[in-house]
Symmetry: C2
Subunit: 357 residues, 2 copies
């Protein structure tokens, strides 16, 4: 056997994570928070690809506002960083991934990962990568299909098509967030997986598909990289040229349109921790079903998620509640309704605007 | 008709009010807080007796720790103050009232009132005082019997005996906090009123009863007044002599034992605001049953009491909850369980001790 092919991880750190307000705020988004342990989700993501027999040091694509914090967190985790690409503006995932693809060599294999997902079974993830790698080397754009654990209506789904060698499948269709009945049918049928936004492909193949299906993005990102400034391990693409790119997700711009799209199913204890309810669900709870962190006194309290940062939370006789203190705010919402945090964040935004007016 | 007899109000400001934690804390107890409007409960109590045709300027008995705040609040309310007696230590109500009785002239009529009660119908209170005054002038120690609104088990009750002229009654018995069934029977029978700790009597009559039934208190307080220091409208009784007094309530030390005890029933919209639930009950709620104050955003929230001071509270989809932010803490307890705040305060105290040890 020859030397193992090395993969360049590309970690996307562009999310704002307003669904985890008040802990997650624009200056300190979800991926930079220690939500599920002592380390931040970015640190955990970087640690997942530290095996140097398989992975190069990662490229991270992030906002300039978080550059110092990202470098500090990676250093604290003892994780290497090959390049920090500073997105000049938020343009969704297709341009962000394109930045990394243009920086890489044509022949490099890129493993694209969001920075704010939980993967409990890293062995399963590694095994799926081993299945995906030969497909990527044959020119497939490979997505990883997350084993669906419930009829979730908040995610996109990937329908499996014809089998490919080694355990992957051609993608038959990408399905946007389905209705409840469709999601239940997907779960029962066993041919649909969640689209977790994790990809493996050769840089040149992605760029070629981008040029075909999203030429405006291709042109804008190529130009912004041509005019980029590099210093101290950071790359700042040209601001105005990047701003000319359409803002599109990689699914919409490329994956749903290109040929040779494969899916490798993987059951790896995945969660996008997309809500406080999700965090309660995946976390290690005490004997009363509580997940408690920070400065909290909970008496006779059951099935609650309580985090106290900055403000001490004292709960007595409370059940099925989410209570999050951070900064100068405390959020209180019943368990099962944490997606409504967006309503609150929007209302606070309107209030702030009215206060300014 | 001769000139109306003038009464000296004696306002007792010794309570700690831990049941309204975290807003009420030892340095800022319940009576100094604006719980039911723009003014503190002490300010409202002082305003209740500003009619100079009937009342002298009040004597206030309070802890030295609150002296400046009390003087500031009374000045802000435009309420006079004849004397601020600084309790050298907390010895319950019998010694506190005795301090005022020894300072007054023998013939003075004293109206003793807690500083932290709500009286919505001040006309009814004034009318009851007019009934009580001739009784006090005849040597009765008069209590005011609060019309019971529910079979409350947390209060003491007063049983009415024989009628006295004008609408009062001899007291047949003082009843300590009753069981549920007894409280229901009291409510149905119409002969029992709540003991609200409001009294009217001649100073000399109280002192005589104290000498007979609690001679240790009488001796200690008399000695502490003999050694008192007076300056700038404040009186500081001798610390060591006062400390020698037993710590007893006026009910236990005097009222339950002395002869010539009368009760004047009064229905005056009274509340001791003894819990967050009580505050929710008496307060002016919005159309959804919420009583909200301070920095609060409440979306789709019903039948809640929410106060945000220092920390912004954001509640979404919440019902029947009490949420109080003050200082560095937030309390969360279901409506109907706010008496359990004591458990939390005690647990925090133990935690603080363990932290010190």
């Amino acid at each position: 056997m020859g030397e193992a092919r090395r993969i360049i991880p590309v970690i996307l750190s562009g999310g704002a994570g307003s669904r985890l307000w008040p802990l997650s705020i624009p200056t300190r988004p979800k991926q930079l928070l220690a939500l599920t342990g002592a380390e931040s989700m970015l640190q955990q993501t970087a640690r997942r690809v530290t095996d140097r027999t398989r992975f190069e040091a990662p490229i991270i694509v992030a906002s300039a506002a978080h550059a110092n914090e990202i470098e500090t967190q990676l250093a604290a985790a003892g994780a290497a960083l090959s390049l920090l690409i500073l997105e000049p503006s938020a343009r969704s995932t297709a341009p962000a991934i394109a930045l990394a693809a243009f920086v890489a060599a044509s022949d490099d294999i890129l493993l694209v990962m969001p920075s704010d997902h939980v993967v409990k079974d890293e062995e399963a993830f590694r095994a799926a990568i081993e299945i995906a790698l030969p497909l990527a080397e044959q020119g497939w754009l490979v997505t990883f299909g997350i084993a669906p654990g419930r009829p979730e209506t908040g995610y996109g789904y990937i329908e499996r098509g014809a089998d490919l060698p080694g355990g992957g499948h051609e993608v038959k269709a990408f399905v946007e967030k389905p209705k409840r009945e469709a999601a239940a049918a997907f779960l029962a049928g066993g041919r649909h997986d969640w689209n977790g936004g994790i990809f493996l492909f050769r840089a040149a193949d992605f760029i070629a598909a981008l040029q075909t299906h999203a030429p405006d993005i291709h042109a804008a990102v190529a130009a912004s990289i041509a005019g980029a400034i590099r210093s101290d391990g950071r790359l700042l693409p040209d601001v105005d040229r990047f701003a000319a790119s359409p803002s599109l997700s990689v699914d919409y711009a490329v994956m749903e349109k290109a040929g040779r799209i494969a899916v490798v199913p993987v059951d790896m204890g995945w969660s996008d921790v997309g809500s406080w309810d999700a965090l309660h669900e995946i976390g290690a709870k005490d004997g009363r079903g509580n997940l408690i962190a920070g400065d909290v006194l909970a008496l006779d309290t059951r099935n609650c998620l309580i985090r106290g940062e900055g403000t001490r939370i004292v709960a007595v006789g409370v059940e099925d509640l989410i209570v999050i203190a951070a900064g100068d705010s405390v959020l209180i919402v019943p368990r099962g309704q944490s997606q409504r945090v967006r309503e609150a964040v929007e209302a606070l935004g309107r209030r702030a605007e009215e206060g300014d007016g």
